[in-house]
Chain length 345, copies 4
């Protein structure tokens, strides 16, 4: 069985594991107050050209989303999100459990537009009884999105502008950020994101770490007391250096983007191979998640040797499925998968 | 600097790290649905002689406490705890953030008694307006307590009996459970705890793991839908096998209790050494946390070469401090510490 | 200015006020434990032919919705609602503030169908990772809906059946229940609702009371500890008898349905008058809320002498607006309104 | 049976009821946006000499406490309260349900001191791991307290000063404020409270209204978006004018303080009468709640003709009980009660 259903099926990149092993016997203070975490924070601030940013390490995406949003919003404020947003459909209502409504808008290939955010705000404030509605307080976007697409620089600039004009925070979920930054056509980098967003995270779990998300808080209004929120939401790792160490490994000699390029290039090979065989895609994704549409009969046979996720049933006995590549995917795995899929009849 | 302020200052026991390294390249399903987690769950059920228990792995103590309590209680119910309980004083109000009041009772050396629980319940139900008060729903105890003491078998049996009679759940926080089970005079083991408690956890973070707490849910009423709560509270680790693997290592060839014995025996040596020098203790602790009372002048000098926690200022220029031993503490570290502390004048 | 924007613009029906005045000097126990509340509860149980039902009086609709849902659901469970549902769009996220996601489905004229509920449940339980999604736990419907439409007996029976099959509670918001029961074509009464629903309320605020909603809890599983939830959510009225007294007045000699017939018949006259003049409606409503589509120029002029709510802007310089009738609306008010609206050109 | 167990056992003062009756047929906008509410707000601002204060009307004390605290605090912040505070012991955990820990300190006759607040803050900020504790964010005091005592001007000034120095809000629960202001020795009035507190309320329910609490928000930082919180917490009364009208009646010709004087003077007569008979009190209360200590045998006999609350069992077959006077208590009721209590043997 070769597994393609996601990008968290293997352990960590060997250089991450080495770093943990070589420091294992050392004694350091707990809770992220050690020198490794300090170095990793500094390294991230440099990378983002955001010397005043606060950087915190959390262990997973749902935890990061929940903690950031709990810290950012007042009880009567809600989160604007695409209806495909991870927080809206795949986190067991964690945001609502923290007390906040998600104001879901129809995504376009998983993306929100500045125009949608503007229209929602205009509608809220035009209502003479606006206090009977949830007040929009923060815009959540994921990049890459849950459909593998990425925002353009122009789209991010426009979202950033409408958020500032309307007094909303802009929060970017970068669980797979490396894949976005290495995608063909991506015209921005870490430091641009720091200028567009109030807060975003540089995902580790899906980019070669054992676990970890580095939350970068650019807006000073969001920095205050953030460690209280981490602790309250159960995300304060006792042996906190494990997170700093992993990010040090990932950011050394460009490993993070090297992993991104690896994921994206293997996905590109898979996309081309599928297209050559005549298959179409649910959405045109330039990152490490692909959503080809294949006959259910083909999928059933394929499932004996390969794992993947079912995304959506379609008419005519077809389904869209998801294949992911990871730091550990080998070119021969992709070729084996392609060989197992017949050309369209 | 030799550090004694807690038991999470080093990495993992080498056998834990080896297990992670040797399986690193394998592909497994995510979110704890892999074979390693299954094996670790089975191993824990055997150890507890609780074949019907549900076992879940979480990454830290606050997360475990919050998730278990959120799953166990209705909104109008509260948690009975000693006023020294970790959930009451060191978790940034995580339980209240999840909506539940903590009904704090004065602990005796960190422990609650069955009589206190009975009196609280009797008082609640005798109030003709009981619905104006928080209804007691669960008793939280830690073992060892935050003061290093342990419950006796008789005390646990009585707490268990009053909880069953009054319809409360009994939840034992076992963040340092190995130290309790290896303490001199401990007259119970894993399987006894499974018979006393509705739910408890076998701590990993402070017992040689990188991180991890194994929650054992004995009461079937608490088992339903527990994975939803883990996800909602941000505790569902994507690469979930990391937890199963660590517990497999800890439970192989009795490593878990071996670590407990190591921690406790070094603490015992430290306790004897301090007593021989004439120093007294805030509380009589048989586990790996010691609370000696020392002159502030001695502590100031000591702080240049050793780290420890301040626990409480006392009259006469004295303070109680906390020293912890861990899986990694070496006998020579303890001797060095003892050598640095003068005999009482 | 004659006001038509809602049905809570006047005080109480005179017979309600008389009952309060004539008992004003009496002493009774507080918090709804007086004889008037007991009598009103008994009267409602008779009316519903539900001798085992629990009846509680709350002061408003949002409070009733929030309290019932908080009492009914576990943290990982959500509420299925039409996207026009009051809880989804007009209660400032009160349900999310209580921790629960609303699973909004597209309403048809404000109504949910049994088929939609079944499809949602089927999709949830078919997802192999269902614990990453909110679990559907309760179906919320309003009757009349926010668009003035009413459910048929058959629709309610089907919703009830799917809820029971799938293990969801069925909760009916009856803020304007009298208008539904008196609408032309309504083929059920109080006791039928008690057989279809797990919990529902008989609205008072919009049916001639100063304030008040009578929550009828038919399902015994929801009855336990309900008074705790009322208190915790701030809805336990100290002078609780005020609620019992008002319901006694409303239920005496059929006043409640008399008010319903009054509201509905005046709305019917208004609907006919508007139709005769050639105007169309956003939705075909048989109750006391009407949504005619009128030119903005007409509305602007009309607004000088009559108040109403803007519902929706439409193409061609038209808007849908809402007119409500109440217990206090006079026939001459309706005629005046009709006279002020020109016939369609 | 003559009832003395609380001050909410009768309806409203006749002048309140008259005001409701005489305006009953009028049409006004809903949700507190009518002219009566505007007038009542203005009247309260004048009374408090706080022209910039925001004034909101809620229906009860628990609702007011919950809503104000939810609006004032961030999730990691808690409420400092005396351990006898209403929010801590008699509101079913409403504050915790809204997510906030109550940091309870031992009250002295129901009161907190500035020194206690200062010590708590000092301790929090001196802890090097303060983010593991709840951050104090607001001080809650009730005046009169739950034991009938009142703060002095000096005590309030000191509390105010420490709150400002430490960055905490000061919130005064004035459910029985009229009784405090009319108590012998009270050396401040409404406008002084407005200068000491960030927010406080002028209770109506226990001062002659059917229901209602007027929340006065002096601190501009707390004023923003407050109506959202009212709605979200289920406290936005549809026929909102009912609250404005009641306060207009209560504040006309000094009725509010007249009721206060009535309550306090009858309680004073009762206190003197009991003292003359040789009975002692649990606490020395100058307001309308008295806590005499009487033999259980006397209380048993007394309970056949008079109602009162049990407060505390004491040694020697004695109990402290609570007697309350209200706007409706008659001098002859007090005499009858005194006559029914024997002199101490």
């Amino acid at each position: 069985m070769i597994r393609f259903e996601s990008d968290y099926l293997e352990g960590a990149h060997p250089r991450v594991l080495e770093k943990l092993a070589e420091t294992n016997g050392e004694q350091t203070p707990g809770y992220g107050e050690d020198d490794y975490c300090r170095q990793a924070r500094d390294r991230i601030r440099e990378l983002c050209r955001a010397p005043e940013a606060a950087v915190h390490f959390l262990t997973g995406g749902t935890q990061a989303n929940r903690t950031v949003i709990a810290a950012a919003l007042r009880p009567h404020q809600g989160v604007v999100s695409a209806d495909t947003g991870h927080i809206h459909v795949h986190e067991t209502g964690a945001i609502e459990n923290a007390g906040h409504k998600i104001l879901a808008l129809p995504g376009r290939d998983g993306k929100l537009s500045a125009g949608q955010v503007e229209a929602l705000c205009a509608s809220h404030w035009a209502n003479p009884s606006f206090e009977h509605e949830t007040q929009p307080g923060l815009v959540y976007i994921s990049n890459p999105t849950e459909l593998g697409t990425i925002y353009t620089r122009g789209e991010l600039e426009e979202l950033s502008a409408v958020c500032r004009r309307r007094g909303l925070y802009l929060f970017l979920d970068g669980a797979r950020l490396g894949a976005a930054l290495c995608a063909e056509g991506c015209d921005y980098t870490f430091s641009d994101l720091a200028s567009f967003c109030d807060v975003f995270y540089i995902g580790g779990t899906k980019m070669g770490a054992l676990f970890g998300e580095a939350v970068v808080i650019v807006n000073p209004a969001l920095q205050k007391d953030f460690r209280y929120y981490i602790k309250q939401n159960g995300g304060m790792l006792a042996k906190g250096r494990l997170l700093g160490l992993q990010y040090l490994a990932l950011l050394e000699d460009g490993l993070y983007l090297e992993i991104g390029r690896h994921e994206v290039s293997l996905a590109a090979r898979l996309r081309e191979g599928l297209a050559e065989k005549g298959w179409e895609f649910l959405v045109d994704s330039p990152t490490n998640q692909l959503f080809p549409i294949l006959p259910d009969t083909v999928l059933e046979a394929l499932g004996k040797s390969f794992s993947f996720n079912h995304q959506q049933s379609l008419p005519g006995g077809m389904s869209a499925v998801r294949f992911c590549t990871s730091w550990a995917t080998r070119p021969e795995d992709v070729e084996a998968l392609l060989n197992a899929i017949p050309a369209r009849g």
